[in-house]
């Protein structure tokens, strides 16, 4: 009989013990590949499985842990050869005991973006190959010893998309409750649970004593319908010998308390033997697992940051092109740096989540949202709220997101619910429901409540619990619909109190069309928080708004001992002099520092950012934007560049000057965008760090300097395939391409990129740079220019564009 009630958690299930350390004990050389034994020494494996089954294990992990395409590279074997062989051996033994055979999947062996170069889809593809190779030989899939949450997601997606087998996932944590990549137990539970894992567990890295508090946290947070399991090491290894010290008796003693916390399957990892498993089997076989009652918490997370929605969360609203010409221009130009700078500044101001809206007519929103999510999670650990009504865009963004995101939004229309809720379910996302439908926004609170209820119930029918539904009762502008402001707040309270859902509002809309908007925004925010608002979508860079949230948390006794408030405001004073408050006539709204005003040229040359911005503002009030660029900024940069070449000024100063110039340029761009004239560029340049290379600091320096000189730089990033460079040059028509490579191992891919650009017959010139390059090597590769530093790249650009 098969161990069919494994997943019903009606009794304890015994998992097997270590494979790798057993094989090493039996003579496998360090660094050798255990996976190949399935082909070279099947009897050895058969023996290990048999011993564990004899000891009482009822789930055996086949010898496929390291059988990823990447890890098998160079071994002379493929997953299609190794995996069926391993499963056949395990299965033939397991069946004799009515035990289950698991396809065991470990880390690919290469880090995913952004830490490494492997993209999500390639990771999914590698796992999919392993799953397809297993055919019908496995009863379940286990994904184990993971440290990267995105890799867990890739593996789970591959399982769900390529087979119908149940799937268990376990990650390896350090004693602080985080993996090497910083993923917490709770983020793992929320994310992997949401992605549909049947079991969540902890394995390897630590012994049973160290894992116990973490397993407890996992039991408290894993979704109620999942089983929780552990496979600890036999204690911690001796640093000198690598040997594990817990014997079978001690191992059992340490594992006994696990029976009380809701774990329903136990086994062992490194250093455990059939004797360890026998002890577990004898003890746990007669016990009944405790039924878990996990907290039904509304959480959202990235891999490393978890937000609990019960505590007045600030969602930054500024990644959104609506009504922002500068942002729209950045999206059209593919200027991801601008988008990222908005993220970083909101994070620095204290935002706890970021709303991400990149929809603009005429742009490919699906690929834009995917690229933006990927870029954002490389620079911020704040959980994201994907803001779109386009199902294709949401699908692409949700797929690459690492963690548990929030989708903004569905509304009460059946069409909207049916298109978007299945995506939320598949990718384990929570969802915002707007209280409007095909008839518009009801004016009465009761009618908005009715829509909210419908959304909640439909979500439930798709398997999305109420605690993952966030209702937006919709902020209407006080100037146009004054009577309905109170209805919004009333509906919010009704939803919060009666539906078991969370609430969210975009706050700033309240003041549209009225003067001194900040006053209304702060007041409305405070009222809404008091009415039960959980997530405030707002501008975190407005201090009075942040202060309202911080104050609310103090006054409602949530910020204990006012510690967050004090941390934010200790040693600060509120300035109430007329010049620094918002009550000023419009004409003098621009701050003017009294007395000595620094000239723009001097500010840039000295690398003073704030002074440069202030000076640029003054210049722009009198001059045309282009005159400011050509008459002041470029000459200033030329001067700095000349000093850099002479060696009287160094890279840090060059970069400080660049940053100051950039601050001025941002204002120039704003001025141009607000004039409605198309942005003027001195020429287009494509830059990239070549395929295989991830060193991008040099390329980024070059980009900043080139942008300073007014060139439009399309930055393709790092690890860029030759095809993408060719495509970008073709699309932009750029007459100049800059390629960077830092390693000897990546020079061949630089050469390949150059060859492909030549083969494509594109008329562009190519400049190259990077530590290991020489002018001779550059010429030999077919590059037109060798740039020894960023300054020289600007000289080359000048030569090309005149």
């Amino acid at each position: 009989m098969l161990e069919t009630n494994f997943f019903t958690k009606e009794h304890f299930t015994i998992l097997d013990g270590a494979m790798g350390t057993m094989l090493q004990k039996l003579g496998l050389a360090p660094g050798a590949r255990p996976e190949l034994l399935s082909l070279t020494d099947p009897e050895l494996l058969r023996m290990v499985h048999k011993e564990y089954l004899e000891a009482g294990a009822r789930v055996v992990y086949a010898n496929t842990f390291g059988a990823s395409p990447h890890k098998l590279e160079g071994s002379g074997y493929t997953p299609e050869e190794v995996i069926p062989a391993a499963l056949t051996i395990a299965r033939s033994e397991a069946q004799k005991y009515g035990a289950l055979t698991a396809l065991d999947i470990g880390p690919i062996g290469e880090l995913l973006e952004p830490a490494g170069t492997l993209c999500l889809e390639d990771a999914v593809e590698q796992f999919a190959r392993m799953i397809k190779a297993a055919g019908t030989l496995a009863d379940l899939v286990v994904i184990e010893t993971m440290t990267d949450l995105l890799e867990v997601k890739a593996a789970l997606l591959a399982v769900k998309e390529n087979c119908d087998l149940p799937v268990l996932v376990s990650m390896s944590f350090e004693e602080n409750g985080r993996t090497f990549t910083g993923c917490s137990v709770e983020a793992f539970a929320a994310t992997a649970g949401g992605l549909g894992a049947d079991g969540l567990g902890i394995n390897c890295s630590l012994g049973p004593d160290e894992i116990f508090p973490l397993a407890k946290r996992l039991c408290e947070t894993a979704p109620a319908d999942t089983l929780v399991f552990v496979k600890p090491n036999a204690g911690l290894p001796d640093p000198a010998t690598g040997q594990y010290h817990l014997g079978p008796n001690e191992f059992l003693t340490a594992l006994k308390p696990y029976a009380e916390i809701g774990v329903s399957a136990v086994g062992g990892c490194c250093g455990t033997t059939p004797d360890h498993i026998r002890m577990l089997s004898q003890h746990f076989a007669s016990l009944l697992p405790v039924v878990r009652h996990p907290q039904e918490r509304s959480v959202l997370c990235s891999a490393t940051r978890l937000v609990d929605a019960s505590d007045a969360i600030v969602v930054g609203e500024r990644i959104n092109p609506t009504g922002k010409k500068r942002f729209q221009q950045a999206l059209r130009d593919g200027d991801m740096d601008y988008v990222l700078s908005q993220a970083v500044s909101q994070a620095d101001a204290g935002a706890q989540m970021l709303d991400v809206n990149v929809g603009l007519p005429g742009l490919d929103e699906p690929s834009m949202l995917e690229n933006t999510v990927r870029a954002l999670q490389a620079v911020t650990d704040l959980p994201l709220q994907l803001d779109s009504t386009n199902p294709q865009a949401l699908a692409r963004g949700l797929r690459v997101y690492c963690g548990k995101p929030l989708v903004n939004s569905v509304n009460g229309e059946q069409k909207s619910l049916d298109a978007i809720l299945p995506l939320c379910k598949k990718y384990g996302a929570a969802v915002i429901g707007l209280t409007l439908d095909e008839n518009g926004i009801p004016s009465k609170a009761e009618d908005r409540f009715a829509i909210a209820k419908r959304i909640r119930d439909t979500a439930a029918s798709y398997g999305i619990p109420a605690y993952d539904v966030y209702i937006d009762c919709l902020t209407l502008t006080a100037s146009a619909q004054q009577a309905e402001v109170a209805e919004t707040l009333k509906a919010l309270t009704m939803c919060k109190n009666q539906l078991g859902v969370r609430t969210v509002l975009g706050v700033s809309n309240i003041s549209f069309g009225l003067p001194c908007r900040e006053y209304l925004n702060v007041s409305f925010l405070t009222l809404a928080l008091a009415a039960g608002l959980d997530l405030a979508i707002m501008n975190p860079n407005t201090e009075s708004m942040m202060a309202a949230v911080a104050s609310f948390r103090v006054l409602m006794n949530r910020d204990k001992q006012s510690s967050d408030y004090i941390a934010r405001y200790a040693n600060k004073t509120i300035s109430s002099t007329p010049t620094s408050t918002a009550i000023q006539p419009m004409a003098t709204a621009c701050p003017v520092s009294g007395g000595q005003e620094m000239r723009l040229r001097e500010a840039v040359e000295k690398g003073l950012r704030a002074e440069a911005a202030a000076a640029a503002r003054r210049e722009l009030a009198e001059k045309q934007p282009l005159d400011v660029v050509n008459g002041i900024l470029i000459p200033a940069l030329d001067e700095v560049g000349a000093r850099f070449e002479k060696g009287t000024l160094y890279l840090p100063q060059l970069l400080q000057a660049a940053a100051a110039a950039q601050a001025a340029f941002d204002l120039v761009k704003e001025a141009i965008a607000s004039q409605g004239t198309p942005p003027v560029s001195r020429g287009k340049i494509v830059v990239a760090t070549v395929k295989g290379d991830i060193h991008d600091i040099g390329k980024n320096i070059v980009k900043v300097i080139l942008e300073n000189y007014g060139y439009s730089v399309t930055d393709l990033g790092r690890d860029v395939a030759p095809e993408r460079v060719v495509e970008a040059v073709r699309e932009t028509g750029a007459p100049l391409v800059g390629l960077s490579a830092l390693m000897t191992t990546t020079l061949p891919s630089m050469e390949q990129t150059i060859q492909m650009l030549h083969a494509a017959g594109l008329p562009c010139k190519i400049m190259v740079g990077g530590a290991v390059l020489t002018p001779e090597y550059a010429a030999r590769m077919g590059a037109d220019f060798y740039a020894k530093d960023a300054k020289q790249s600007a000289d080359i650009a000048k030569e090309i564009f005149g």
Binding site: A29, P30, G31, A32, R33, H70, P107, G109, E110, L111, P114, A115, G116, T117, T145, T147, S172, F180, T181, G182, C204, S205, P239, G242, D337, L340, S341, V344, A378, V379, T380, G607, R609, G647, Y650, L651, P652, Q653, L655, Q656, A658, A659, G692, D693, I694, H695, I697, N700, I701, V704, M743, T744, T745, T746, S749, A771, V772, T774, E776, K788
Partner: protein
């Protein structure tokens, strides 16, 4: 296993990493930039090490680690000359440093460059710390060379993948290797240290086979990166 962080990262070495010549005196803004970078990097780094002593076999004058891991190139041969064991060491500052550097790059390059330099200096300091710990554990009568890293001299970077497997680096400290032989997280060091029952000094590769030979700033100044 975790390693302790130093209290500070030497500012002059950070300035050096930012492209300042040895004799140039950094001004106050550069010093404060380096100081800020140092603080940020020390806040983000979580240094870890893993190491193991392997037997070293010599086949036709070529060193071979454990059973079947040949080490290619003239320079590593000279470095391990006279040794019968080899410590394989890997240290990393962890992925949070990479996140810091990416985040700083999104907000202007000068602090990003300073932090990148500071993290590189710190990675070497951590490797020094790790090397010191291993040296202090050597049994009496055992001697050990200094560190030698892949990519240095004519030892190819491509050997990283095999070294990673031999130490099970990803499982031990979260360190992996890309298919181009680049370590990720980026601020990481792998190194080979020969051991013997008689004093061994190892051999620094020198400039002759260095990939940076033509463009190296140290060499232009008549110095070497080994600090002499």
């Amino acid at each position: 296993m975790k390693l302790p962080l130093p209290n500070e990262i030497p500012l002059e070495e950070i300035c050096r990493g930012m492209g300042m010549p040895i004799n140039a005196e950094p001004d106050e803004t550069i010093k404060s930039l380096a100081q800020k970078a140092s603080t940020l990097v020390l806040e983000s780094a979580v240094p870890r090490m893993v190491w193991r002593l392997f037997p070293l076999a010599w086949k036709e004058d070529r060193p071979q680690l454990a059973a079947d891991l040949p080490l290619e190139g003239r320079d590593i041969c000279l470095h391990l000359s006279g040794c019968n064991g080899c410590v394989l060491l890997a240290v990393t500052l962890g992925p949070t440093i990479d996140l810091l550097l990416r985040r700083l790059s999104a907000g202007g390059m000068e602090l990003a460059v300073a932090a990148d330099a500071a993290a590189s200096v710190l990675a070497e300091k951590i490797a020094d710390e790790a090397e010191g710990q291993i040296r202090s554990q050597l049994p009496v009568g055992q001697f050990m060379t200094r560190r030698y890293s892949p990519g240095y001299g004519d030892l190819p970077l491509t050997v990283q993948t095999r070294l990673a497997a031999a130490l099970d680096m990803q499982k031990a400290i979260g360190l992996a290797v890309t298919s181009s032989g680049i370590l990720t997280p980026r601020k990481s060091v792998t190194a080979l240290l020969g051991t013997a029952d008689h004093p061994v000094k190892g051999h620094l590769a020198g400039c002759a086979t260095c990939a940076l030979r033509e463009t190296c700033q140290y060499r232009k100044e008549g110095k070497t990166c080994a600090g002499n």
